[in-house]
């Protein structure tokens, strides 16, 4: 019951914030619609043709009251129609997003997984060796990796591995000789192309994971129940289980939230590596004032963040008996 309520709230939130993207575009200075209309007419269209074209692209009927426009836009949205690209005439926004999404999803998933695995291992090691130099080394490396912005890390890797050493390709998601699909040459080529962007995700995320995991492990190690478990004679493996479950738990929410947030973080990384994912799609749309594509990307990001938050809450309550949603 509680979950139903939470889901409804999440849906309403997605709806409200998506609507905001509609009004935002409409309210931008130098009315984008008029601008677009003029542009189309300059290309030789009649006023009627231009208006029809705009309706196809943006799901609105120009020169109607704002609320009328909004209604039309909503009806189309509910039918799953996100409009058409302005720059790539005739291509639907939905298609653009579906083409870009797999690249981002797989890379982000692998990058996140990698950074959490590395961060958790390093955090535990640093907590156990907290009085030794190893711990301060790990902490410093983690802090620096966390502090350097993604695009700097990306450019540095790009320079090192494609210019200095020609080890990895400098862009794209797969080589020109392979055909996308479920075949080995393609998969290998994709993995080869995603190593640098994926590694950039890892480098920019593992630092904060390491630091949180360290502090959470130290907190748990000092808990009375860990001392009691030792005195109760539990074996090392059991103690590690108690320690692990209790210290990873606080990281869980952050993990779920970064699932959503990494979609926007990917703008820098994907641009740096010319990786044809959502971030790149959004960046290109922003640069060329492709409003329908922008709206589509925004709505996708908003929906993932909200859904990830909802999932985080629901799953957290399943993992931690103390929490009641």
């Amino acid at each position: 019951m509680k979950y139903v309520y939470r889901s409804i709230v999440a849906l309403v939130m997605i709806f409200v914030i998506s609507s905001l993207t509609f009004f935002l575009v409409r309210l931008m200075p130098g009315d984008p619609i008029i601008f677009l209309e003029t542009q189309l007419e300059q290309k030789g269209m009649t006023a009627q043709q231009a208006a029809d074209q705009i309706q196809v692209m943006l799901n609105i009927i120009p020169h109607q009251p704002l609320l009328e426009q909004y209604r039309e836009w909503l009806v189309q949205l509910l039918h799953g129609n996100l409009g058409q690209s302005i720059q790539q005439t005739g291509v639907s926004v939905r298609k653009l997003i579906f083409n870009a999404l797999p690249w981002t999803l797989i890379t982000v998933a692998i990058g996140l997984l990698g950074s959490y695995v590395i961060g958790i291992v390093l955090g535990v090691v640093s907590a156990y060796l907290r009085r030794s130099w190893v711990s301060s080394l790990i902490d410093n490396v983690g802090s620096v990796a966390h502090a350097v912005p993604a695009f700097v890390t990306g450019i540095a890797l790009l320079y090192l591995f494609t210019v200095v050493w020609h080890v990895f390709p400098s862009g794209g998601a797969y080589g020109i000789t392979v055909t996308p699909g479920f075949n080995l040459p393609f998969i290998l080529s994709f993995l080869y192309h995603m190593i640098l962007p994926g590694f950039t995700y890892v480098l920019t995320t593992f630092g904060s994971v390491t630091l949180s995991m360290k502090s959470s492990t130290i907190t748990t190690l000092n808990e009375d129940f860990m001392m009691a478990a030792r005195i109760r004679g539990l074996p090392k493996s059991k103690l590690m289980q108690y320690l692990g479950s209790n210290s990873i738990l606080p990281l869980f929410t952050g993990f779920m939230i970064s699932l959503g947030v990494l979609f926007s973080g990917s703008i820098f990384i994907e641009q740096t590596f010319q990786f044809p994912g959502i971030g790149n799609l959004l960046a290109t749309a922003v640069n060329s004032r492709d409003y329908p594509v922008m709206e589509g990307c925004f709505m996708l990001t908003i929906a993932t963040v909200i859904v990830a938050n909802l999932l985080a809450d629901v799953l957290y309550a399943k993992l931690d008996p103390r929490i009641n949603v």
Binding site: D224, M227, R232, G233, N246, D320, P321, R322
Partner: protein, 327 residues
């Protein structure tokens, strides 16, 4: 006398920056099979630290500087390997923790935690659960409800009783009980102590009570050690200590407990503040607060002397009496 535990010259320090706190200072005692003793002293006197040392598990950054702990007249426990130590843990010696509120894993039901203990000691899980049921009901708890609960679903008093039940789970020969009844109301206190005493009689096990309030446990212990600032200042049979304490600190400690019946004006508190372990010098640790302080007390550490009353006391007031006890 069948000695089950002997502690000799136990000294535990906590390095704090450039100073070192001597939380336990040259403490010796022993306990016989079936005997019940109490460590009594005010907060900070080192009672819990001794309890943890019995499991070679003093909290960070504590160090056992010197001393010997022998279980069942065996070798020095502190020098044994982890594997041999683990065989003593819980099967032979168990503990009811002072912080009973937080000694259960918050993510697991009580049932799982009982099973984890059983598994660690190669006891059949089902046998252990049946045993736990029986123990929980003697503690006036609903076994099914408690076993299926997570720790946060139990009240403080319930957790304390669960903690006592867990300590009894593997039929240990010695149980250390650190303030085992603080979270309980007076009625439950009395009944829990009565149950513990019955179990001790039936199974002939030894109990080490740790408390700051001697009146609560005086019915269930045979001997008392009064601790002050990490040292034992007086020890003897419980009736002797309660009726006729010799050490000025013990007098004050026992005098500061309000009687259930009678005039409150008979209650004398202890003068001064609890000892600051950082400021201890060579003399008697109690000198600054002692009503009978003498010059010698500030420079010479008093040694334990066996008095004719049967009590042993470390105080210069009795320098002329009895004879020195070697520790």
């Amino acid at each position: 006398m069948n000695e089950v535990l002997s502690v000799r010259g136990l000294t535990i320090v906590f390095p704090m920056g450039h100073r070192t706190i001597r939380a336990v200072d040259n403490v010796s005692f022993s306990i016989a099979k079936g005997e019940s003793i109490a460590l009594v002293g005010e907060s900070g006197s080192g009672k819990s630290t001794i309890a943890f040392a019995l499991f070679n598990n003093v909290p960070q950054p504590g160090i056992i500087e010197s001393g010997e702990i022998r279980y069942f007249q065996g070798g020095n426990f502190l020098e044994m390997g982890q594997a041999s130590q683990r065989q003593v843990f819980w099967e032979k010696v168990s503990m009811v923790f002072q912080a009973a509120q937080n000694t259960l894993n918050p993510l697991l039901r009580i049932r799982r935690q009982v099973e984890d203990i059983a598994q660690a000691h190669h006891v059949n899980k089902k046998v252990a659960i049946d045993k736990a049921r029986e123990l929980l009901s003697t503690m006036y708890l609903d076994p099914t409800r408690v076993l299926d609960a997570y720790p946060h679903e139990l009240s403080g008093g319930m957790k304390q009783r669960v903690s006592i039940a867990l300590a009894l789970l593997l039929d240990p020969e010695i149980i250390v009980l650190d303030e085992p009844t603080t979270a309980l109301d007076v009625i439950s206190q009395a009944s829990v102590l009565k149950i513990l005493n019955e179990i001790r009689r039936q199974r002939n096990i030894s109990l080490i009570f740790i408390t700051h309030d001697i009146s609560v446990i005086s019915q269930v212990v045979d001997r008392v050690l009064v601790m002050y600032a990490g040292s034992v200042v007086e020890s003897g049979l419980v009736q002797k200590i309660v009726r006729d304490p010799s050490h000025p600190y013990a007098k004050g400690l026992i005098g500061s407990i309000p009687p259930l019946v009678g005039d409150l004006s008979d209650v004398h508190g202890l003068r001064g503040n609890p000892v600051n372990l950082l400021s201890l010098s060579g003399g008697c640790p109690f000198a600054d607060r002692c009503p009978d302080v003498m010059t010698r007390c500030r420079t010479d550490r008093p040694l334990m002397r066996q008095l004719s009353t049967g009590n042993a006391v470390a105080c210069h007031l009795y320098d002329a009496e009895g004879e020195e006890v070697r520790t």
